[in-house]
């Protein structure tokens, strides 16, 4: 831990400065800018949490929307009884527990089966919850009454996003991170070299899910009205996956890079051409697979190395 701090203190100081500046943004900007940043931080946190598990182990999960929705509902239920910070904590814990159960039963599925299962899971929770609300609770929706300001939501999500990035980076440097990558390279080999693959996978899956649930809960503070269709919207799963892969799931800061253009694009298109956003998202998938397999971060790194090589060449001549 101390060694890590010593070798990376420059980056750390730079990040702290950046975070400080970003934390001041809401006091000098319009509510429109604040809300764009809120969506951006939510996407960054979700994409980083997704990449933390799915990017390293290559278990492609489409359950982001499921855990996100669980967080929204957890907040809607708990905020009636306890103060908001406790309700947020409760949402993260519920997300963790749900993912624990799901993970224990499903993580032996591989490849396509896992992808389809996680996609189905979102739909299943959505449908059952919808039915439960209508039939048992005799209502379609829930209301959220809080007096949390947009500025507080901004600061909270900024903190969540930063902690997720730093946490994901930190884990990549310790044994757990090596175990995750080993699973992604070859699970059988990982198991034979003594990695308890089931425990590593389930714990990391649940950790990533708890972040997703927390983000859902924080965003829910902005809504006054929620229903199952709003909470369990599959678009979140896809958008987050694209952000992570566009940025590059192999680096802790990759998903954050990918989230920025995607959020701007979605803000630009969603209002005026909602259907064109779907098409753009689809084309993004195709472009990433064929032309950007390592994401933008690999491209940037390659450009940087090329530039650096050029510089040193000039100096030696």
């Amino acid at each position: 831990m101390l060694e890590l701090l010593q070798s990376h203190w420059r980056i750390g100081a730079l990040m702290a400065l950046g975070a400080f500046i970003l934390a001041l943004v809401p006091f000098y900007s319009s509510s429109y800018v604040i809300s764009i940043f809120i969506v951006l931080y939510a996407n960054i946190a979700l994409a980083t949490a997704w990449a933390f598990f799915s990017g390293t182990t290559r278990y492609i999960s489409l359950a982001t929307a499921a855990f996100f929705g669980v967080g929204i509902y957890a907040l809607a239920i708990f905020h009636v009884y306890v103060p908001v910070p406790l309700a947020l904590l409760a949402a993260a814990i519920v997300g963790f527990l749900v993912a624990l159960v799901v993970g224990l039963s499903t993580l032996r599925l591989r490849g396509v089966y896992f992808v389809v299962f996680t996609f189905g899971l979102t739909e299943l929770i959505h449908q059952v919850l919808n039915w439960w609300e209508i039939k048992i609770n005799k209502t379609v929706s829930r209301y959220i009454f809080t007096d949390v300001s947009n500025v507080s939501i901004y600061e909270t999500l900024l903190a969540v996003a930063l902690i997720t990035i730093v946490g994901s980076w930190f884990v990549s440097k310790i044994r757990l991170g090596f175990a995750l990558r080993a699973i992604g390279e070859d699970e059988t080999v990982a198991r034979h070299t003594g990695v308890n693959t089931t425990r590593v996978k389930v714990v990391c899956f649940a950790l990533s899910a708890s972040v997703m649930a927390l983000v859902g809960a924080v965003l829910a503070l902005r809504y006054s009205y929620i229903d199952a269709t709003i909470a369990f919207n599959n678009t979140w799963s896809f958008q987050v996956l694209i952000a992570a892969l566009l940025g590059g799931a192999g680096r802790a800061w990759g998903p954050a890079i990918g989230a920025i253009p995607l959020v701007l694009l979605s803000d630009f298109l969603a209002g005026t051409f909602p259907h064109h956003f779907g098409i753009a998202l689809g084309l993004c998938f195709v472009v990433i697979v064929y032309f950007l397999p390592g994401g933008l971060t690999r491209l940037l790194e390659r450009l940087y190395h090329a530039w650096w090589a050029e510089q040193t060449k000039v100096r030696t001549h």
Partner: protein
Amino acid sequence: MILFEVFLNGLLLGGTYGLIALGLNLQYGVARILNLSYGEFFMGGAFTAFFTIMLWKFNPLLSLFISMPIAFAINWLIYQFLMIPLVRRAPDQDVLDADVVLVTFGLFFVFQGLALVNWSGDLRGYSFLSTGVPLFGATVALNRVLAFFGACAIAFALFLLLRYTRFGTALRAITIDPVAASLVGVDVRKFSALAFAGGGALAAASGMLVSTFISFSSTIGVEYTLKALIVVIMAGVGRVTGTLAAGLLLGVVESLGGYLIDPGLTIAINFGLFMLILLLRPTGLFTRA
């Protein structure tokens, strides 16, 4: 008696589920590509039928002559130009699966988006042969009977093709082992492309048949991709009769579940069944363990 009627309707519906899944099973079984944009061709077939009867005032069955060749061509192109490069560069099946999932999900978004832009997201439907006919003492709609027998006829034709022709033998050989098939002189790439394209054409055909008795919109594709997947995974990859049987089972479970438990839960029952099978028997119900 009502229960029997519900059962019968489930059986009829299940026949069409079997057909929907046959196309996907052909694609996945022979070409080893899990096409998640599959349901979009179902949606396309439904819309072609809709335009044929509403716009051009022809019998919707004639729309098969338009939608099936188009779906065949598009799927052939997808296989040749999008999938082959992925197959070539993938070091193993895991990497290929991940790439294919991403690309076909991307295509799903593109096709659905194009449909939404051009045809809007409104619910469509038309009336065709919607008279009731008596069947085993119960009354069922004629269009459902047509869809059922249409599905059975196509499935039977496919069965004969696979079983008794050289072409079919080659496809079965590829399903079992592509490398061995190429060693005995089967042009794996050509036949895989044809099977993939044929699967797409089946999706369009089933879309037409189902559109006679349901209302549909531009976003219906994904629901039927998942239903087809459920059936394929239930049946086991590369099996014709098993696929039809699994389709019937799904149709009956869905109908009875909707009637006995709650109609609002039919999709949930579908997914519940699917997940149960994934967890308990990921190789399929109708395969030898």
